[in-house]
């Protein structure tokens, strides 16, 4: 997740990372990471604080004034659970498609590259 400031809305954090901020902590599927000092009514979250508490890497390019928030690695695996993460991407015409819209069908998701 790319950021040019570190105070962002809870919704933006959740959409960008896939982790939901709940009373029990930061949760994804059945995995929850306990959090300290979270005010459920605050309009923004402090990404640096959440990154430190959750063990997410936060890379800073000082010259450009940008941060990149990386994924969780607490279980030493890419997948946190077998529940498919949401994936929302555009097609050639720019129309957004959500992977979750295919619930009820089996899906083969294939990555390829034109190089």
């Amino acid at each position: 997740m790319i950021l040019d400031h570190l105070a962002i809305s809870r919704a933006a954090f959740e959409a960008g990372t896939g982790w939901q901020i709940k009373p029990e902590g930061a949760c994804r599927g059945e995995v929850c990471i306990p959090l300290r000092n979270q005010d459920a009514n605050a309009p923004t979250v402090d990404v640096a604080d959440l990154a430190a508490q959750m063990g997410l890497p936060l890379v800073h390019d000082e010259a450009l004034g940008l941060w990149s928030l990386g994924p969780w690695s607490g279980n030493d695996r890419t997948l946190v659970s077998a529940e498919a993460p949401e994936l929302e991407l555009p097609d050639l015409d720019g129309n957004l498609f959500r992977l979750s819209s295919l619930r009820g069908q089996k899906v083969l998701l294939v990555a390829w590259a034109p190089y």
């Binding site: 450009l64 990386g70 890419t78 899906v107 294939v110 034109p114």
Partner: protein, 242 residues
């Protein structure tokens, strides 16, 4: 490529979603997608979100997801039926460098028929198919990610973002850092190498190595041919494990 399998398997309950991972985006993917004329969703992923969320580290990689949205096979080599597209060139038109790359590619080991047969078995037998893994197996078999790999992903995403905004010079050090932190992620490398214009024209993105007349301008520690010869083209794709 995938359309042929989709035509066969869609009536049996399978949808295919293809995702083109490339910081160059629509312009680079369009000719391939239009040539394939897919009737399934065909998406563009300029930030390699599928790498971050699903653990894609090379292409082609496939993930199986069941009707309830549960992954039953995590990202793994998914050989496409039919031949991979290559830049068109007549006899004698290709530089030796490209001939060398094609010679190494020809040694790749995949079994598209076995992969398609496994898919058919899953469609017929669902969760009782021997190829459908339990949730615990899925997480366990997903790509390993330690703290270095997570940090490397953050650097890679920053590089991809900088490519998007046209700042190639600033992207290179972040690509380099991703390569250093996650040396076995081949798509981080191929993406970065494909953006160096060592030659002009249609071969540019497939060259994946230093320019012959200016090798010192190459900003990376490795390149496609050195890397593949180093680990052996036979090991390029991991074997399919039921």
């Amino acid at each position: 490529m995938w359309q042929e399998l989709r035509t066969e398997l869609h009536p049996l309950g399978l949808e295919i979603v293809t995702v083109g991972i490339d910081t160059v985006g629509v312009d680079a993917c369009r000719p391939f997608i239009e040539a394939a004329a897919p009737s399934h969703p065909s998406l563009i992923d300029t930030h390699h979100v599928v790498a971050e969320r699903f653990g894609v580290t090379n292409i082609p990689n496939g993930v199986w997801i069941d009707e309830e949205g549960m992954i039953v096979r995590p990202a793994e080599t998914s050989p496409a039926p039919g031949r991979a597209a290559r830049p068109a060139a007549g006899p004698g038109e290709l530089p030796q460098h490209m001939m060398d790359i094609f010679a190494e590619s020809a040694k790749f080991q995949t079994d598209p028929a076995a992969y398609a047969a496994a898919l058919r078995d899953w469609l017929a037998n669902g969760s009782s198919s021997r190829y459908a893994l339990s949730p615990d197996q899925v997480v366990e078999r997903s790509e390993p990610r330690n703290a270095d790999a997570a940090r490397g992903q953050a650097h890679f995403e920053l590089a991809a973002h900088l490519e998007q905004v046209g700042d190639h010079a600033s992207a290179v050090p972040h690509f380099r850092e991703a390569h250093r932190l996650v040396p076995d992620n081949f798509s981080y490398k191929r993406q970065a190498w494909s953006l160096e214009a060592s030659v002009d024209g249609p071969l540019s993105r497939f060259w994946q190595g230093p320019a012959e007349d200016d090798p010192d301008a190459w900003p990376y520690d490795s390149d496609w041919l050195s890397e593949v010869r180093g680990f052996g083209a036979e090991n390029y794709y991991r074997p399919f494990v039921p």
